[in-house]
């Protein structure tokens, strides 16, 4: 179980994450929803050990991750928000780099890479530098890099960005299978419908504060809303979205 206790992060005196606490349980896909700037990526980066919280602690199985951060990092797989990869490397070389940094023996690594590349439809392009790759192809490489070492915890920040439909379907099945194996999965996304269908539990975040933390079904019941999208609109005060859209069109059309 992964637990955040009173986590706070401040950038340039602006609090981005304010004293948030929650638990992510093994075998559960936890959806992490929120508008732009809500603090989703900052939380995920703190969970990945890339950022230090200004206050609070993160515990894995009751132990502060900072006590042995290397051992913790060895157990996580992380997909960042932006598909930033070393474009001068080929997809295969990138995965070799990640695998070796994760101390995987070369023979096992090669075998895994070849199989994953084939399943994700990248085997033809695996020796091309990634500067030739589309956004979706780079995202596939990042997904592969995150799961290559069979991590116990998956931290996914917009993992479906740029992926084609069939890869999205494969990826959802992979997550379900991983959850069934008892892994901890935190899935941060803007895609409300995907979160609704995939996640067992959802946390809705706005301006660094948790607004809701429950199962999709229970959230719908509590707010008497028909869908997660309506729940989201209700909780995150988005205002009259249709009116805002009309205002933008009017601004564009005016002389």
């Amino acid at each position: 179980m992964l637990e955040l206790k009173g986590i706070r992060k401040v950038y340039n005196r602006v609090p981005v994450v304010r004293d948030i606490s929650f638990r992510a349980r093994s075998g559960e896909i936890l959806g992490y929803l929120g508008p732009n700037g809500a603090g989703k990526s900052t939380t995920i980066k703190m969970l990945a050990g890339l950022l230090e919280p200004d206050a609070g602690r993160i515990e894995l199985e009751g132990k502060d991750i900072r006590r042995d951060i290397d051992a913790y990092k060895a157990r996580i797989g992380y997909i960042p928000e932006q598909a930033e990869v070393y474009t001068h490397l080929s997809g295969k070389e990138y995965l070799q780099l990640v695998g070796r940094l994760r101390l995987m023996p070369d023979d096992r690594l090669e075998n895994k890479i070849d199989r994953m590349m084939e399943q994700l439809g990248l085997s033809i392009d695996m020796n091309l530098p990634m500067e030739n790759y589309s956004k979706g192809m780079r995202q596939k490489v990042l997904v592969s890099a995150a799961i290559l070492h069979d991590p116990d915890i998956l931290l996914l920040d917009e993992p479906l960005s740029g992926l084609d439909v069939s890869t999205v379907l494969i990826f959802k099945e992979i997550l379900r299978a991983f959850a069934a194996q008892g892994k901890v999965i935190i899935f941060s996304s803007h895609l409300i419908d995907v979160v609704e269908r995939l996640c067992d539990r959802v946390i809705i975040l706005d301006r660094g504060t948790i607004l809701a933390d429950d199962s999709v079904l229970r959230l719908r019941e509590l707010t008497s809303q028909p869908s997660l999208e309506s729940v989201f609109k209700e909780l995150v005060q988005t205002g009259d979205l249709e009116q805002r859209a009309r205002d933008i069109v009017a601004a564009v059309s005016s002389d």
């Binding site: 050990g49 930033e84 070389e93 990138y94 990640v98 070796r100 940094l101 070369d106 530098p129 030739n132």
Partner: protein, 561 residues
């Protein structure tokens, strides 16, 4: 589109192209571009002032030095040479922006922009940029050229004459570089064009940086060359523009007048060719040809050889990861290769000049070859190791370094051993491979091997000194501008190199005469190396990788705070 609309577009595009030219990939400093540009411009202005002062101070008291207006040309040639060399380096640094590039392709092509406005803005933006950089670098030299010899000339004509010479010189260099780039863009397919462009950039960097080494040696010989009617005087481009300066001042010199005419013709010719090639490139741009950013060339692999090498040399996976990342980045990153070229151009020019200088004085049998062979591995090691160390501090795709941060795993030592092994393969072994056959031919195999081992020992110690306290993964960590304080420490580097070179090449010479002393030196080196290793092992046990560093404070306090 009417003319007024095209003119409005031209104004916006002109400003855009001018400002894009001021941002250089070679001098990229993340978010401190503006500050770095100001510092570089200030350094350019100060360097110009110092050079002009050194050149023209004799004319303040020309009577003592027995100088006449007819002697001005030699000093002006020096200033024009350096000004053109700097313009050349800037032109190479701006290579991608001399013509419409990929960024223009994706941002400007979808917009309804007239071809004429685009063409005019790009060409005039380029010329305005050249003029601005040249004027900054030559503001003080122009004042000095106007006032120092004014008593001798009875006028201030030296100033405008100098400005005209350097402006024409800079236009010539910039347009010639742009023409070369245009020819590559217009006539080669994208993949071949990229390779040709990279080779051209490396070569041009050597060409433009080398005068700083050889010109001071040539300076004394200029009058003799001119008096002898040497072809060098007619064909050396800075001399053409010195001729223009001479002409404006009004010193009648048939040879320099002819050179001035050649200079004007050369500028006109290269401008016409540039405009022609620009039109061809623009047509290609408007057709959308060459938009393919990188070609689809598969990377070449030697899996069997690679596995064998890794099995013996890179046993730990982290070493293997860091080593492979280093070598692949070095092999494939154009930007890093150019930076390394920038660091190496001066020492290689220095070696060649040293050889030429000794050869001209003493001939091959008189020690030129021995002196070159003694210097060769030592000098190459010195500049390769330091140059590579500095080059590796510039990150490649910084946001992608999360992969190292998120997987940080285990002892710092393995990361650093991977880095060190990559440095060995890229900086220590190649000079020895280059030296050994030469040494074997001219000194005999035994002497060559012993001297190579001596150079290896020196290089290993130098490498340890350079990587002392290093806790960063090469090419993967944020670059803090000025961290190495190269701006302040370059004199120490130059003096350090001279001392290193004199002491170690001298010692190498003695050892060559007395090979029985080699074991003593090897033993000493091994002892120092072992001590360094013990210290490093102890230190690294408690340390972690560094990914971010605080910038240096604005004021250096030399640790007195």
């Amino acid at each position: 589109m009417d003319l007024a609309s095209q003119f409005r577009q031209f104004r916006v595009l002109f400003r855009h192209f001018f400002s894009r030219l001021s941002y250089s990939e070679l001098l990229k400093f993340e978010d401190q571009q503006r500050e770095s540009r100001l510092v570089l411009l200030a350094m350019l202005a100060v360097a110009g002032m110092v050079a002009a002062n050194l050149a023209y101070e004799h004319f303040l008291i020309f009577e003592i030095f027995d100088l006449t207006p007819a002697d001005l040309w030699r000093y002006e040639t020096m200033l024009v040479t350096f000004s053109m060399a700097i313009a050349g380096v800037i032109a190479v640094a701006s290579w991608d922006k001399l013509f419409l590039d990929r960024i223009d392709q994706s941002n400007l092509r979808p917009l309804p922009i007239g071809a004429r406005a685009l063409f005019a803005a790009k060409s005039l933006g380029l010329l305005a940029f050249v003029a601005a950089v040249t004027l900054v670098g030559n503001f003080f030299p122009a004042l000095i050229a106007a006032f120092y010899p004014s008593r001798m000339l009875d006028s201030l004509s030296g100033g405008p004459a100098h400005l005209a010479a350097v402006l024409l010189g800079s236009f010539f260099v910039f347009l010639a570089v742009a023409l070369l780039q245009g020819l590559i863009t217009a006539f080669l397919p994208p993949a071949a064009g990229r390779r040709a462009a990279f080779l051209a950039q490396m070569l041009l960097l050597f060409v433009f940086l080398s005068p700083f080494v050889w010109f001071p040696m040539l300076f004394r010989s200029l009058p003799a060359l001119k008096a002898g009617g040497s072809a060098f005087i007619r064909l050396y481009p800075p001399m053409w523009f010195t001729g223009v300066s001479n002409r404006i001042i009004g010193i009648g010199d048939p040879l320099l007048d002819r050179a001035a005419r050649s200079g004007l013709a050369a500028v006109a010719l290269v401008l016409a060719a540039y405009l022609l090639v620009s039109r061809l490139c623009l047509a290609k741009f408007m057709r959308g040809a060459g938009a393919d950013p990188a070609g689809r060339r598969a990377l070449i692999h030697f899996p069997a050889g690679g596995r064998l090498f890794a099995a013996f040399f890179l046993r730990h996976p982290i070493q293997h990861a860091v080593f492979s990342f280093f070598m692949k980045t070095l092999r494939r990153s154009r930007e890093h290769k150019l930076k390394l070229t920038l660091f190496l151009a001066l020492p290689v020019s220095f070696l060649l000049s040293q050889f030429a200088f000794v050869y001209m004085k003493k001939g091959l049998s008189g020690g030129a070859l021995d002196s070159l062979l003694l210097s060769l591995p030592l000098s190459l090691h010195f500049f390769l190791i330091i140059g590579m160390r500095l080059t590796a501090t510039y990150p490649h795709t910084l946001p992608a370094n999360f992969v190292f941060r998120a997987s940080e795993n285990g002892p710092l030592r393995q990361y650093m051993i991977g880095f060190k092994k990559a440095m060995l393969c890229s900086t220590v072994f190649p000079p020895l491979i280059f030296f050994l056959p030469l040494g074997a031919v001219f000194w005999g195999p035994r002497a060559a091997v012993l001297y190579a081992l001596y150079s290896l020992a020196v290089a290993l110690l130098l490498l340890e000194a350079c990587l002392f306290n290093s806790r960063k993964i090469p090419f993967a960590v944020e670059h803090v501008p000025g961290k190495f304080k190269l701006r302040y420490y370059w004199p120490i580097l130059v003096i350090g190199y001279i001392q290193y070179h004199l002491a170690l090449a001298g010692l190498g010479g003695i050892l060559r005469e007395n090979p029985s002393d080699y074991p003593v030196i090897f033993l000493l080196a091994a002892l120092v190396y072992a001590l360094l290793m013990i210290n490093q092992r102890r230190r690294m046990a408690a340390e972690r990788l560094v990914f971010e560093e605080e910038p240096e404070p604005a004021m250096m306090t030399l640790g007195l705070d």
